[in-house]
Amino acid sequence: MPFIPHTEEEVQEMLVAIGAASIDELFDEIPENLKLTQLDAIPTALSEMEITQLMGKRSLQDGEPSCFIGAGAYDHHIPAAVWQLTTRGEFYTAYTPYQAEASQGTLQLLYEFQSMMVALTGMDASNASLYDGASALAEAVLMSVRANRKSKSKRVLMPRTVHPAYRRVVHNIVRNQQIELVEVAFDPKSGQTNLAVLEQYAGEDFAALVIPQPNFFGVLEDVDALTNWAHANGALAVGVVNPLALALLTPPGLWGEAGADICCGEGQPLGAPLASGGPYFGFLCCKIAQVRQMPGRIIGRTVDLDGKVGYSLTLQAREQHIRRSKATSNICTNQGLMVTAATIHMALLGSEGLERAAAASFQNTRHLVEVLTAIPGVEVMFEQPAFHERVVRLPAPAKGILRSLAAHNVLGGFDLSADYPELGNALLVCATEKRTEDEIAAYAQKLERVIQLQGGVTCGLVPKE
């Protein structure tokens, strides 16, 4: 019996102690007609060797292609130490640190995580994680509605430059609480949120303005102006940021005159592998004024009976296990292990290391775009400064081109046509620091051939000089 240590002899001893004739008898309170007798659709057990062989095959099946997709998940180098430490049994198999005295390892680590996120974002406080960036944004929106005392509105301004999947997730999570997301258009030239469009809403009551940095196109938003606009109009400024980009970019706490009120984002670039989209982790930071509206676990530093420093879960009155229907959120399990990895990742890299990784990604994407736009018919779309993603216009629909590239084991980018039909044949590309010179050259070469074969350049486009 895999994982079950009982011997027949022990079972008998235990049944005697219980006073039952068989294990089956222990289920005697369950109505007979409910009992299940067969599980035909479940295959019979595999030994560890057999599942190892099966998973070995499956893991090779998907071919580790050369990946130029970003779009919310980024292929950064993760130091080997990160996961060797994170998977130590003491981290990997511990529970939520309810018994603080027996959980000081996790608790101190989470306090360090919060401290690092505060350092990175320039905010006052951080929680100990939410599920992912998208659901973190949903929680940030809910939080902003609760926290904005000046506003009675349940409307939140949501730029169209925010990740489309994030916008969908926020909608799905907040709609039942009658919160309305008002979409803000972007400037088709710059790819930035259109301040002129925003100005139309001046004077109206909004709980918050969401501000992405960089935005989904990789473009840098004028976060100072947006933050100031929000505050001038009684709305909270809610940043949604790439934490690695923050190694180089102005932290939300310093945006505009007063800084963002809340910021959140996807923690994946800090030590989580791509891994098909999860587990990642969402982070959420805020000004101290909002901390009692923050959902999720929060760790505080305190002292024990002897005055010795220790760490414990704090502000639990916000949480569902204490507050039940009055809680700030229903969240219980968060993404502790991913935060463990992120904390170790940040400790290993330090600010210098994160800055270098961010700068290398910036440079690599710049180089990629240069090489791609040297191909006749391929053009860069938004001239505004970007971080490590950019939109390029292709001479033909991205879908077919991407399929051809995939056949050569290159994942060429994220097709924007479904989410942004107004952009035409637009492709979002990304080259992190891990993409090599050779991979970028191979991508360009293949793209050029694919375009030639598909006759893309003949569609009325003039080759560049």
Binding site: I4, M14, A17, I18, G19, L26, D28, L39, T44, E48, Q61, P65, C67, G89, E90, F91, Y92, T93, A94, Q99, A102, S103, Q104, L109, E112, S135, R168, N172, N176, V223, L246, L249, T250, L274, A275, G278, R301, L305, G310, S312, L315, E319, Q320, H321, R323, I331, T333, Q335, G336, L337, L348, S351, E352, G353, L354, R356, F362, Q363, P385, L411
Partner: protein, 484 residues
């Protein structure tokens, strides 16, 4: 000592980062931060040593018995971790095309199918990221169902008073009011009380069965009938699925929607607070509303089911496909258990719980429901000890730490005073259970002979009891170089 306190400005002892610093002057200064973030500057060894030492301040399944009721702290097979960490699986981008995803999708599809079979539901979506998000999905589907029928007056969700806190919190997030149903003296839901409150305003009821009281609600079919007849739906909180895995199907009990905590029943690690995974299964009428993405099989190809295919779906709840790595671990575990292993989970976890209950009763501990069978967990109440000896449940819990055992769940469910909710799981052997029972016996003796010893516990942990009031009043939530 914090990692920050080991930092030294200007230290660059890392091979982790790119060896040179690329020029970023093309980013205009207005966007760039003026000062580097105050992250620790330590060598790789310092980081390794620090976090290795920190880890040793934790209790964990790999080091301790962890009979935390309602949390199903069972052994997490190491193969699940190593196989889910194979390079090919870690490298897959969530937006990779189906052509480069068939290996991954095969695992997800098969897991969907296995969960369908074991729960008796019509269809399963794996995407919710944790139990609470699974609950959210479940209640949102109930709402979507009523809304789609124009049945919009249903504004109330019922939940027993023993329910997990996530139940009412979730109902509120979905725009519902919550009404509590009392528990009868035998631990089952008070059916008459239920009948009294159920009505046209009832959207549904959220139940755990076995309940958090450690008993199987024998009137579950009557409850289902009552709620269904009133037009409401039944939600199954899968937190206690371990108790009945392979023995009873929630679908058969009459539930319309269920969430499963894969980090409990399917043994993915708790990781100091997550990640989990909270797949949802539904009866036929809720299928259109399932959250996306899901995996379909066409011929021998696997394809994604998305918003496009399911226009009535409650949509996606995370940006991608949920906690994929957790799902892979659960898949591996399920395949190793197989058809024959699933019922054993329920059988031996129930055996362990009933054995512990009897042994603890024999030495004078009071069961909350002495006339009932324990399921995979059970409750003892220390109200007698609290009253007579002045030693309360928290004291027992803290003293257990000194004996090398993680404490059971304390003071939950709320309706049982001074309670310990004890869940041994099926992966613990008899000798460990006996050691725990001996420890309880010793603590009971200590509580009688030297109550201060117990009230001052723990004595052997890295810290003694912490000042939680100070923590909440004088908030110190982040290290700052200035404050030190």
């Amino acid at each position: 000592m914090l990692i920050f306190e080991q930092s030294k400005a200007g230290r660059k002892a890392t091979a982790q980062a790119p060896l040179t610093r690329a020029d970023v002057s093309a980013i205009p200064a207005q966007f760039r931060r003026k000062r580097s973030a105050a992250l620790p500057e330590v060598s790789e060894m310092q980081a390794v040593r620090h976090y290795t030492r920190l880890s040793r301040k934790n209790f964990s399944i790999d080091t301790q018995f962890y009979p935390l009721g309602s949390c199903t702290m069972k052994y997490n097979p190491r193969a699940c971790n190593s196989l889910a960490s194979l390079p090919g699986l870690l490298a897959r981008h969530p937006e990779a095309p189906e052509s480069h995803s068939q290996g991954f999708m095969a695992c997800l599809y098969e897991l969907q199918e296995m969960l369908r079979e074991v729960t008796g539901m019509e269809a399963v979506s794996l995407s919710p990221a944790a139990g609470a998000q699974g609950e959210f999905a479940g209640v949102a589907m109930i709402k979507a169902y009523h809304d789609a029928r124009g049945d919009t007056a249903r504004c109330e969700i019922l939940a027993p008073d023993a329910a997990h806190g996530t139940n009412p919190a979730t109902a509120v997030m979905c725009g519902y009011k919550v009404r509590e149903i009392p528990t009868g003296p035998d631990g089952d839901v008070d059916l008459e009380a239920l009948k009294a409150v159920v009505g046209p305003q009832t959207a549904g009821i959220m139940l755990t069965n076995p309940s958090t009281l450690g008993v199987f609600d024998r009137k579950i079919e009557a409850i289902a009938r009552t709620v269904h007849e009133a037009g409401g739906l039944l939600y199954y909180d899968g937190a206690n699925l371990n108790a009945i895995l392979g023995k009873v199907r929630p679908g058969k009990m009459g539930f319309d929607v269920i969430h499963m905590n894969l980090h409990k029943t399917f043994s993915t690690p708790h990781g100091g607070g997550g990640p989990g995974a909270g797949p949802v299964g539904v009866s036929e009428r809720l299928v259109p509303y399932l959250p996306v993405p899901m995996v379909a099989k066409e011929g021998d190809q696997f394809t994604w089911i998305t918003e496009k295919d399911r226009p009535e779906s409650i949509g996606r709840l995370t940006a991608f496909a949920g906690n994929a790595g957790v799902l892979i671990r659960a898949y591996i575990y399920a395949r190793m258990l197989g058809r024959e292993g699933m019922p054993r989970v329920a059988e031996y976890s129930t055996l362990n719980a009933n054995y512990m209950l009897k042994q603890l009763q024999a030495m004078g501990f009071q069961a909350a429901y002495p006339q009932r069978r324990a399921t995979h967990e059970f409750i003892i109440t220390l109200k007698k000890q609290a009253k007579e000896l002045g030693v309360n449940t928290m004291d027992f819990a803290k003293r257990l730490l000194d004996y090398g055992f993680h404490a059971p769940t304390t003071y939950f469910p709320l309706l049982v005073p001074e309670c310990l909710l004890i869940e041994p799981t099926e992966t613990e052997d008899k000798a460990t259970l006996d050691d725990f029972i001996d420890a309880m016996r010793s603590i009971l003796e200590e509580a009688t002979e030297d109550p201060e010893l117990v009230k001052g516990a723990p004595h052997t942990m890295p810290v003694k009891r912490l000042d939680d009031v100070k923590a909440a009043r004088e908030l110190d939530l982040a290290w700052s170089p200035v404050a030190e």
